[in-house]
């Protein structure tokens, strides 16, 4: 296949993924609509808080329909993820030379949403997260739509500074952590909504008990945090050191990655030592996910000097030009350096 064909395949893959996710969303909608008026049977399991979303309802017919459409939703999510993966693969192969499919915002978003779905699929049966399905699929669908509408860019080779295997490592870690934090954020949001809700029926009532939601959110964050640490504070600086000569530049993107790190550190710290479970922890998690997504999208519009400004075509080099232009030969400055150094030695 030629590069152009691969690119077409990638675009078709995105479109197919979008359609299938939409169908999955419909299936989930049918499932939850069927369960809408059915009161939740209280959990009786010892220890309390075990997720009891498995469809056990009085009316057999409703139950079957709900269970069917729930399984269908999951299946469709899986098929969508497959198309999503093909889209990513095509994107990477379409580039000449072949490369990892995260060279610009469009591709990064494509990868990030894929990781969200993949993490969901990987954990759904183990942690009984089937209730998270509609939210995840809805979220991914919206983000993909926005991605295609506003961030689309044709396949292009990477700018020079991005050509490093550290790019692969750094971005993989960042994307995986972003996916985990996003799932954690969604769970925390649901926690807060459920904590306020008093309804006996409907989606919120069918979510796992609050302690279970809290625990699932914690696990997502506990998984994401080390990955984020590795991506942002280890592989990122190593790469920055190779490309720009210093491992930490206080570049706006770095600053916000650091802020995100600090917020999640505070989240874990608060849970571990100050006993902040539940509401406070969920609020902190939402702050964290807000800084994460602001860093991912928002900061690009606030700062033009970011060296991560791959949002626009040749910005990588533009920043290089800017840096050159800021470096006039300043004799006075050199003299100042010398004077200070002499003092230090005296």
């Amino acid at each position: 296949m030629t590069d152009v064909q691969w690119e077409t395949l990638s675009n078709q893959g995105v479109a197919a993924a979008g359609v299938v996710y939409f169908l999955a969303l419909l299936a989930y909608a049918v499932q939850w609509a069927a369960l809408r008026d059915v009161p939740v049977r209280q959990a009786v399991a010892a220890g309390g808080g075990a997720p009891v979303v498995d469809v056990e309802v009085a009316d057999e017919g409703t139950g079957d329909r709900a269970a069917m459409s729930g399984r269908l939703g999951l299946l469709l999510t899986g098929i969508g993820a497959l198309a999503h993966a093909i889209a990513l693969l095509g994107r990477g192969i379409a580039a000449d030379p072949n490369r990892v499919p995260w060279g610009n915002m469009y591709e990064f978003t494509l990868s990030g949403t894929f990781v969200v779905v993949a993490l969901f699929l990987a954990t759904t049966s183990r942690w009984r997260l089937s209730w998270l399905g509609p939210i995840v699929v809805g979220f991914v669908l919206c983000v993909l739509l926005a991605d295609v509408l506003w961030l689309y860019e044709p396949v292009a080779p990477l700018t020079e500074a991005l050509e490093s295997y550290w790019l692969v490592i750094h971005v993989v870690a960042a994307v995986i952590a972003t996916g985990a934090f996003t799932l954690g954020g969604i769970t925390s949001m649901l926690y807060l909504l459920k904590a306020r809700s008093t309804k006996e029926t409907g989606y919120l009532a069918r979510l796992p008990e609050l302690p279970a939601l809290d625990r699932i959110a914690y696990r997502m964050h506990a998984f994401g945090f080390p990955v984020w640490t590795f991506g942002v504070l280890i592989s990122g600086p190593i790469w920055a050191h190779q490309a720009w000569s210093s491992y930490w530049n206080w570049d706006p993107k770095e600053v916000w990655a650091f802020i995100t790190w600090v917020v999640y550190a505070a989240y874990l710290h608060a849970r571990a030592t100050a006993g902040w479970r539940g509401r406070n922890a969920a609020l902190l998690a939402l702050v964290g996910v807000a800084t994460l997504w602001f860093n991912f999208i928002g900061i690009n519009f606030f700062s033009t000097t970011s060296q991560h400004s791959y949002a626009k075509g040749a910005a990588q080099e533009r920043s290089v030009v800017l840096r050159v232009a800021t470096a006039p030969v300043d004799v006075a400055q050199e003299v100042r350096v010398v004077v200070r150094a002499d003092h230090a030695r005296a």
């Binding site: 004799v331 050199e334 350096v337 004077v339 002499d342």
Partner: protein, 147 residues
């Protein structure tokens, strides 16, 4: 810097702006004043008349040597020496490699810089940046001459 503390004599040679060989070793026996400059450096342009004055005042007692760095061509340096009537030669070292011989001593660290060598070619004093007045340079040289 007291005579006893000084480092080994400086080894420095190169070509001057006209392409003629210059070797510091040929200037031993007299103190040498080395001035680091380039033509587009404003403080260098301001201090050059002071250096000329000092060179004229000291006459044969002291040798002067310029060290041109950073100028993109020897011609450009020559335009400067012509314009300012510089009477002494300058080694042309656009990449600054000549300055590496000073490593570990009173290393010229800014443009301009002025270094005074004693009669054995050892670094005795240095001024980073523009020399404040002709008199400053003369008194530095006097100390070295008086040894």
């Amino acid at each position: 810097m007291a005579a006893a503390d000084r480092d080994a004599p400086l080894e420095l040679s190169g070509e001057d702006l006209d392409g003629k060989p210059v070797d510091l070793a040929d200037l031993r026996g007299k103190p040498v004043v080395i001035n680091v400059w380039w033509s587009e450096c404003p403080p260098c342009r301001v201090e050059q008349p002071d250096l000329n004055e000092a060179a004229a005042e000291l006459g044969d007692k002291v040798s002067f040597l310029g060290l041109n760095i950073r100028d993109s061509s020897a011609e450009k340096g020559l335009a400067f020496t012509r314009n300012f009537d510089v009477a002494y030669p300058s080694i042309y070292s656009p990449d600054g490699s000549a300055l590496l011989s000073f490593a570990g001593t009173l290393n010229p660290r800014s443009i301009p810089s002025t270094v005074v060598l004693d009669s054995q070619g050892r670094v005795a004093a240095s001024v980073q940046g523009r020399i404040p007045t002709t008199q400053t340079l003369l008194s530095l040289v006097d100390v070295v001459l008086g040894e």
